[in-house]
Amino acid sequence: MTDEREPPEIPLEPFPVHERESPFPPLAESLPPPVDPRSDWIQAADAHDLPTRENALIALGRFAFPPAPPLDDEGVAARDRRWTSRTVVVAAVFLLVFNAVSPLNWSRQQAPGWVQGTVQQLSEVWVAQLAVFGVDMPRQGVRETWTAARDARFAGQEPASATP
């Protein structure tokens, strides 16, 4: 004798009549009618108990539509590429505006021609404009300081102009 309950007997005669549990979900008609949640359920719900942020936001129903899924690798790579391109463009535009001396020097080293002439004229005008507004002062200041450092000599040395 034992305390364990015996398994229910499955009638075998004349044919097996036991229906196995269906692997499919129940039909809607067979389900009980849905019951509205309590009106204060949202205050009681704790988003931190839910598995992911997106689930929490959807479950709490604070948004008009579900938030987009997180970026995949491709999306992150595209975003980083755009960030890099913006950095490169900002640096290039900055140099184009404030380092007009560089295209001017370049144009002076080229053989005369339409491109060279145009670049030279534009650069000269732009360099003059920068000087008018005083925007070239930081560059000039650094250059003058550097030139002064280059011309400096140890005590007893001949001055810069006399050095071979």
Partner: protein, 466 residues
């Protein structure tokens, strides 16, 4: 077309934006990068683009045959591939030198002959792309890398413009897998790349150029006109100049490749803080020293057959490494000096074991000064001038060439070896979180400051001649 020029800046901007606009078509992207690389190389001499293409086709064909052939035939094929590569290199780089030496030798024996002297123009970067070709063929033979999937991959491997003319020597096993798919660009890579470009620009156009024009070139041209102090300063200055020049090129190459999404191996790692010659070669031109180790020292037998054999092999390797730098006796002597010191170090280790015989500081100072002695041989136009430099170290006289600014640059150039290792990576890690506007303005301002102090014009990089 040199890196620190406006023309290259415009070229790179075009390549950068066009290549990333082709990111959905990796094949077309690689083809575009290949065409851009050939355009870049053609700025020196368009005829040598054909040499570059022929060399790539040769290495691609030999590697494909090696992959298909069984057993013993592979050894013949790899031998053939290496021999043809060396023949190309030998013809362009060493033909004139060997003919001159042969004529001189014959004259000494009274057999004077009119040997066929040719005015051969050395294709820029030939030593680098030939070594890459050899490493590709040998690596396929050794099974370290599979043969490339297409000819375009091999052509791009050998011609990719960031490393084409002065390294680093990027091996097939490093770069071919990266060609398989469109690369990804991360903020960390981009920030690191941009910082390396700016840092390289500063080292090359400010430190190396200033030292070269105002101290190194005049003193090495006529050492007899200067005193011991100037000659010593010029020697230290050349040590700083060659480091700032060559490492700047490597930094910019790594940075440019990073902005295109490719990763190159590190080529320098604060070499003047090495406490032995062996350590120096683990920090200086790492891609060449590791190439020489894997494709010359190891095939010679390496250290497998005992101390004597390893000493002979390292000496041969360093002498040939010297010859790789140029067809001149001064380069051979430079290689022999480095090889000889490494032999002495090996014998010392065999005698005393791994225990430290001299303090690290002494090791660093001794190694640095041996390296500087080697730089005199490396830089001097001839043995006579090198001897004049050495003799001048005993000449008392006034300081003429050294100025406070040049002294500051020498000290600064050496001091950068004691910055924290991977300092650039550390800064990049912090800056990668910055908005693109901030980083762009910072980069622009840094380049503007470099432009403000750099001398007019840009001298070619020292390693272009190799």
């Amino acid at each position: 077309m040199l890196f620190p020029t406006l023309a290259f800046g415009v070229f790179f901007l075009f390549v950068y934006f066009t290549s990333w606009s082709l990111d959905r078509e990796n094949g077309r992207r690689k083809l575009f990068l290949l065409l851009a690389s050939w355009f870049f190389y053609a700025q020196w001499d368009w005829r040598f683009v054909a040499l570059l293409i022929a060399s790539a086709v040769l290495n691609w064909g030999v590697a494909a045959l090696i992959a298909r052939q069984p057993g013993a035939k592979k050894a013949w094929l790899v031998g053939l591939g290496v021999a043809v590569n060396l023949l190309i290199l030998g013809f362009f780089k060493y033909y004139g030198f060997f003919i001159e030496q042969a004529a001189e030798l014959l004259m000494r024996f009274g057999w004077e002959r009119d040997l066929p002297l040719l005015e051969i123009v050395l294709p820029v970067g030939i030593s680098f792309f030939t070594f890459q070709g050899i490493s590709y063929v040998v690596d396929v033979h050794r099974g370290k890398t599979p043969p490339a999937k297409s000819l375009v991959d091999v052509m791009l491997l050998m011609s990719f413009f960031p490393h084409l003319v002065a390294g680093p020597i990027v091996r097939a096993s490093d770069l071919l897998p990266q060609f398989d798919r469109t690369p990804r660009l991360t903020r960390a890579m981009a920030t690191h790349g941009v910082l390396l470009i700016v840092w390289g620009l500063f080292k090359k156009t400010v430190i190396a150029s200033e030292l070269s024009v105002n101290l190194v070139d005049p003193v090495f041209f006529d050492p007899s006109a200067y005193s011991a102090f100037d000659i010593a300063a010029a020697t230290y200055a050349y040590a700083v100049q060659i480091y700032c020049d060559f490492s700047a090129y490597s930094d910019m190459a790594i940075g440019l490749a990073a902005l295109l999404g490719y990763s190159f191996p590190r080529n320098f790692d604060q070499p003047y803080r090495a406490s032995s010659m062996q350590a120096f070669w683990r920090r200086w031109h790492i891609s060449l020293s590791s190439w020489l180790r894997d494709y010359l020292y190891v095939p010679l037998g390496g250290g497998r057959k005992g101390l004597v054999s390893s000493c002979i092999n390292v000496f041969i390797t360093m002498v040939l490494g010297g010859l790789w730098h140029g067809a001149a006796w001064t380069f051979l002597a430079w290689g022999a000096l480095h090889g000889g010191v490494q032999v002495i170090e090996r014998l010392g280790r065999a005698a005393f074991g791994d225990r430290r015989v001299v303090p690290t500081v002494v090791g660093v100072l001794v190694t640095f000064h041996i390296v500087c002695l080697g730089w005199i041989l490396f830089r001097a136009e001839s043995f006579d001038l090198a001897m004049q430099m050495l003799a001048g170290l005993g000449r008392i006289g006034p300081v003429v060439a050294l100025t406070p600014l040049l002294l500051t640059l020498i000290v600064g150039g050496l001091a950068m070896h004691w910055l924290p290792p991977r300092a650039i990576e550390g800064v990049a890690e912090r800056l990668k979180a910055a908005p693109s506007l901030t980083l762009g303005l910072l980069v622009g301002a840094a380049i503007l400051m470099v432009e403000a102090v750099r001398p007019e014009g840009v001298a070619p990089f020292i390693y272009f001649q190799f």
